[in-house]
Symmetry: C2
Subunit: 315 residues, 2 copies
């Protein structure tokens, strides 16, 4: 009989909604609860109540994972570790999430960005199984990129946040962009709200031949060009609300990538393998909440390793 998997809890903290989840993986979700991301104190109290109710019902989880919108401070040892920092979301600037929830539950807590979490979930349970170097891109309310290098998310001076890079504009594209920080960064040019501002209607209502898609495909192609040359993922999973139901967009983005690289990188991924190289993710709408569980699973492993090291040292 296989070892029973460890019970984990997760919180996906999104810009408009939070999802609390309890379980061991996609086939064993014991509880899931959605709540709006509203007033910050109210929201955090709501999350705490959900997690404590679950603990009473299901027993204590081994670890909690938080997969959060960013920017979030992930510098271990920083006094504001696990805080949401410079978000434009009203009332949420400089908000302690991880330290507060960790104190409340008394279990190991891991934090990562929502997109890094989703990428880790795709690797553990979804379309990225067996891949050590890949990326997960979501194009929705914002544009987010989770980047995995040698099996882990990247953390240097900060977490990565590739949705806010500026890209070369398509000639003739004079749209000012909608990002409150950068105007025409890629999120400002090609996210759901950007498409709606460009076209005067939501992305889901745009026909495939609407000219706005040309600008969106160009921008996403430039993002992929930069990803290929900056971390060289083995695959790029491209999901999120804007991609849903827009099958034509995948081919356009692949075409724009290939055109822009212009033969500079020779690899099977950019030739015959291109349809697999840029492809939809595997977990669909569950990637976000399962991302929080994946972050919890990594925190649990780290905490075990630290515990083992401490035990060994004290012998």
């Amino acid at each position: 009989m296989p070892t029973p998997a460890k019970l984990l809890a997760g919180v996906e903290l999104g810009g408009t909604k939070c999802v609390c989840i309890l379980g061991t993986g996609p086939d064993d979700v014991r509880a899931l609860e959605r709540l709006p991301t509203a007033d910050r104190e109210e929201t955090l109290l709501h999350i705490e109540n959900v997690l404590e109710r679950w603990r009473a019902q299901h027993g204590a989880p081994r670890a909690l994972g938080i997969a959060s919108f960013g920017p979030v401070d992930l510098r271990v040892g920083s006094p504001t570790y696990g805080f949401i920092t410079t978000t434009p979301k009203p009332g949420w600037r400089d908000t302690d999430v991880a330290q507060r929830l960790g104190r409340r539950l008394g279990i190991p807590v891991g934090v990562d960005t929502d997109v890094n979490g989703a990428a880790l979930a795709e690797r553990r349970w979804g379309a990225a199984k067996g891949l050590d170097d890949f990326a997960y891109v979501t194009v929705g309310t914002g544009i987010g990129v989770g980047t995995i290098v040698r099996g882990e998310s990247i953390f240097g001076m900060n977490h990565t946040e590739l949705g806010h890079i500026r890209v070369a504009r398509k000639p003739g594209d004079a749209f000012a962009g909608v990002c409150s920080f950068h105007g025409d960064c890629i999120e400002g040019l090609a996210s759901g709200p950007a498409i709606e501002a460009r076209a005067g209607m939501p992305a889901s209502q745009l026909p495939p031949d609407h000219p706005t898609w040309d600008f969106v495909a160009h921008g996403l192609g430039q993002l992929m060009h930069i990803m290929v040359l900056s971390t060289a993922p083995q695959r790029i999973f491209l999901g999120g609300g804007v991609m849903c139901g827009q099958a034509h967009l995948f081919d356009r983005v692949r075409h724009e990538l290939k055109r822009s690289l212009n033969g500079y990188v020779e690899a099977p991924e950019l030739g015959q393998g291109l349809p697999q190289f840029i492809a939809p993710p595997g977990l669909g709408e569950m990637a976000g909440p399962l991302g929080a569980l994946a972050v919890a699973a990594e925190a649990e492993v780290r905490s075990q390793a630290m515990g083992a090291a401490t035990t060994a040292a004290s012998r």
Copy 2:
């Protein structure tokens, strides 16, 4: 008495010259020889002769490191592993370097890009000591970026090659660019040859108030913006021929980075620490050849680990 360091050999394969090096580090270079990168067969024979002469004089090195201009195939197990692939350099397309030199010398061979090698050398012996996540940028005949994540260079579907990304252009900059693949990628816009094409004179002769520097600083600032959000280095070392003697350019690049990020990332590195965040490398012109030695050192460690694993498995 400390263990004597292991003798290593390296070849920095550059677009215009190659440097062969023998030693254990910057304070113990036993031999160094420069030769032009000319006809490919002639050049490779010349390198083989140098390495064999040194072996006769100094004994066999423990490993050979090759730090090469790119693109180079670094996919372990690929039939063209260690080949230079799509280079625009005449006569060098699809050239076996690593397999050939490895067979000739019969020692472990490591290969990486020239800039990844230089970054690893800076970490081992130079300005990046103690850093696990950083980047090394050279602005010279081309623009190259070596990126280190958790102490190692990145390798996914390919090595990274950030000098060939397209960036957002400075308004009013209509220069077509000089890259033979991409025209106005960052190498095409801001490398030494690009500056000379823009200004009609070499970068070294341009006064600090020449308007060309505005375009160069803007382009490099965009590159740094993308680096901060793609791999979030703890420091970026900015060197190469164009940067030499252009102290003003460092401040301009820092300014462009800060202006472009527009407060989105809050980190000491982008505030008071900015002068240290973007700073010159430590090894100067020796970064390239020492990069080849650093690649050799990593190959030697890997080969020891594999040997140990093999020994353990055969017990």
